[in-house]
């Protein structure tokens, strides 16, 4: 017999699914629109922006690639990989020192590191330009690597430290009893135990670096050094833009991050949740 409660529950499920479906359409439709318009001609895009392509011009992807997207992609991959590795290792070391090692002024050090979270990149821009020019690092790959690492260490340390604080102290004590040095305990015991938060911070840093625009625009110039967010604007001109080629470039730029997101989505959520309440 169908009860009133079961009808209400079924209705609720239908509403929830309809809502989630609508949400999925809102998220996926712009991506599909970008994909479809990336294989049209400029005239077709303006004439029928919401229709399916009449012919699929995959050559737009080759054009985008040849107009610099290949170089921007290489630079983006290099700077993302190196800055993420540097950020996560520096932050993990810092978090270990702040939670598992007795060091003088550790509280002050923690405040100094976390104070970095309060510094808006925009405010630091002008002194940074002067400093990097004086050091000969302006307009170089090193400029981006140093900036991305420096500006991400505070937040990453904050997340890893919160995770390490929850690890049982007995593990460190057991390692010490077995004669492991602090460094060995870090590499062989603590770091492997922190795998979930390390993966989360890696993903968050990749997302940040991949999409960063301000520093990339100010500290680099020319095709060989520019990352995707800045490089894609090179495809646009006030006096005439081949928009399908720009869309093709945007698809190439978005694809690695979308794949990465689907591969590691549970870590994204975990990374954010682990940072809460600590």
């Amino acid at each position: 017999m169908v009860t009133r409660t079961s009808v209400l529950m079924s209705l609720g499920r239908v509403f929830v699914r309809a809502f989630l479906l609508a949400l999925a359409v809102v998220v996926i439709y712009p991506l599909l629109w970008m994909l479809f318009n990336g294989v049209k001609s400029n005239a077709e895009l303006f004439a029928n922006p919401f229709a399916l392509p009449s012919s699929w011009r995959w050559e737009n992807y080759a054009t985008a690639w040849n107009r610099g997207v290949g170089d921007y992609l290489t630079t983006s991959v290099l700077v993302t990989v190196t800055s993420t590795i540097a950020t996560v290792f520096i932050s993990a070391w810092a978090a270990y020192g702040l939670t598992k090692v007795r060091i003088p002024f550790s509280r002050t050090l923690l405040i100094v590191i976390l104070a970095g979270l309060m510094l808006a990149p925009t405010v630091a821009l002008i002194p940074l330009v002067k400093m990097f020019q004086a050091m000969g690092l302006y307009n170089s790959f090193w400029a981006l690597l140093i900036l991305y690492t420096a500006f991400r260490v505070p937040f990453t340390t904050f997340l890893i430290r919160a995770y390490m604080m929850d690890l049982p102290a007995e593990v460190d004590e057991a390692a010490a009893v077995d004669g492991a040095s602090k460094a060995r305990a870090f590499w062989q015991i603590i770091l492997p135990m922190c795998r979930p938060i390390i993966v989360s911070t890696v993903l968050l840093n990749i997302l940040f670096t991949w999409n960063e625009y301000l520093f990339a625009m100010i500290f680099t110039s020319g095709g060989a050094l520019q990352t995707l967010p800045v490089g894609l604007t090179n495809l646009m001109s006030k006096h005439g833009t081949d928009y399908p080629v720009v869309f093709a470039g945007m698809v190439i730029a978005a694809l690695p991050v979308i794949v990465l997101f689907f591969a590691g989505q549970r870590y994204f959520i975990r990374g954010l949740a682990d940072g809460v309440g600590k």
């Binding site: 821009l125 307009n139 625009m217 110039s221 020319g222």
Partner: protein, 442 residues
């Protein structure tokens, strides 16, 4: 209150740049001393250049120039900072604020260039490039005058630009329309195009500046030149000439009678309007010379139909300069603080040699050089050649309204142009709000 990131950036950079400019100039208008170009430069050292030639297809131009110059002078090296339309403003502001401007840097004409001149950051090139000098004689006089202040010349005009009404030659021929000679003829041709099923004039004002381009050309026709020039500067502006109201009424008529989107044009992109002409859906589109080859690109219907151009016609009885044309070159300033200023000037002479000027005007670059005779049928399309010829022959070149005056007044005009397009304000109300912005900027 949270500001969007771009606004935060702009605020920080503008504040920093303003401080830097004020610091350099001692707090007031203080142009740099004339550059000594009589002595031969020492052909050694590093030249840094900030260009607006970033991205495809312009990027190789300065690279090639630098490589050729280096072949002649092996002890000279280059640092090129190549930016695009999108990034050049923020990059220039950051470098100015950091007091790290390169030896040679890009500038627009008007208020943008005047900031560097007043701040003492633009080398006075008068002895080298003023009309009548050997180098200056190579350029059209209107191009040089775009960077003139108080009788002194502060930038090398690299390429020229101007605003023309582009039209579809096939459609005009089929409907028996000839390029109009007066504003009234232009309006009456719109009804012919409309009844034949075409959008008479494609217009998209989402960015605000397309309306200002119409208004500035109409102001040049309707407002006496000396009054107009005085009104650009808040210190001398009165903004009470009746010509402004007449020009704004003409603009409203054009929007209402000739455009397909009418009062909704503020929601249309200029690129959509450009495409409407390119695909043979519109009869006309008001555009810059730099747009000609994009509008009539090789795959477009317009390329087959033929792109013709004419100047936006003045109304009968206009009291301003009916031979003036809205045109503005883009140029390069030599940093007054540069240790390599003489070398920088020598490089810019090389960049504006007849051979390099012709190379700049030809595909793939297609930037019509300001050097006289550089744009020809051999390297440019017929509309570009015709447009540049008319700009060189014009009695006066009027700089874009959004860059000829100070930013607060330009913003008031921008809001006014949008209000006129949407029909939200009368010309009297628009003029009153611009006057009040100008008074506040005094």
């Amino acid at each position: 209150m949270m500001f969007p990131k771009s606004k935060q950036l702009m605020t920080a950079l503008v504040a920093g740049a303003a401080l830097a400019l004020a610091g350099c100039g001692g707090g007031g208008s203080q142009a740099a001393a004339p550059l000594d170009l009589t002595k031969e430069p020492a052909y050694s050292g590093k030249l840094s250049i900030l260009t607006k030639f970033g991205g495809d297809p312009l990027e190789p131009y300065f690279k090639d120039l630098a490589a050729e110059y280096q072949k002649m002078h092996p002890d000279v090296s280059f640092e090129l900072i190549q930016e695009t339309d999108q990034s050049i403003k923020d990059k220039t502001k950051t470098l100015t604020a950091s007091q790290a401007l390169p030896d040679i840097f890009f500038t627009w004409a008007g208020n943008w260039a005047n900031n560097f001149i007043d701040g003492g950051l633009a080398a006075d090139l008068t002895p080298a490039i003023a009309p009548g000098t050997e180098w200056g004689a190579k350029f059209g006089e209107s191009a040089l005058k775009a960077f003139e202040k108080d009788g002194k010349y502060f930038a090398v005009p690299l390429y020229n630009n101007g605003k023309f009404m582009g039209y579809n030659q096939r459609i005009f021929k089929e409907l028996g329309i000839t390029p109009p000679k007066t504003f009234e003829e232009l309006i009456s041709s719109c009804s012919v195009l409309k009844s034949a099923g075409y959008e008479p004039i494609a217009f998209g004002n989402k960015d605000g500046w397309p309306a200002l381009h119409y208004l500035q050309q109409l102001f040049a026709y309707e407002v006496p030149t000396d009054v107009l020039n005085a009104d650009f500067h808040p210190a001398t502006a009165e903004l009470n000439d009746a010509g402004y109201l007449k020009a704004m009424k003409q603009f409203s008529t054009l929007v209402n009678e000739c455009t397909g989107s009418g009062k909704d044009s503020n929601g249309v992109l200029y690129t959509t309007a450009q495409q409407a002409l390119a695909e043979g859906k519109a009869g006309m589109y008001y555009q810059e010379i730099l747009e000609f080859d994009t509008t009539a690109s090789k795959d477009s219907s317009l390329k087959k139909d033929g792109l013709g151009i004419f100047r936006l016609p003045a109304a009968a009885g206009a009291k301003g300069d009916t031979e003036a044309i809205e045109a503005s070159p883009e140029g390069y300033i030599i940093n007054a603080k540069s240790k390599n200023a003489a070398l920088a000037a020598d490089f810019m002479k090389f960049a504006t040699s007849t051979q390099n000027a012709a190379k700049l005007s030809a595909p793939p670059y297609g930037q019509p050089s300001s050097v006289k005779g550089a744009v020809s049928e051999q390297n440019s399309t017929a509309p570009v050649v015709e447009g540049i010829k008319q700009v060189n022959e014009a009695s006066d070149a009027i700089v874009w309204l959004d860059s000829v005056t100070v930013p607060t007044v330009a913003d008031a005009w921008l809001a006014g142009g949008e209000a006129l397009t949407a029909g939200g304000q009368s010309p009297e109300q628009v003029l009153a709000s611009v006057r009040s912005a100008s008074d506040a900027a005094k």
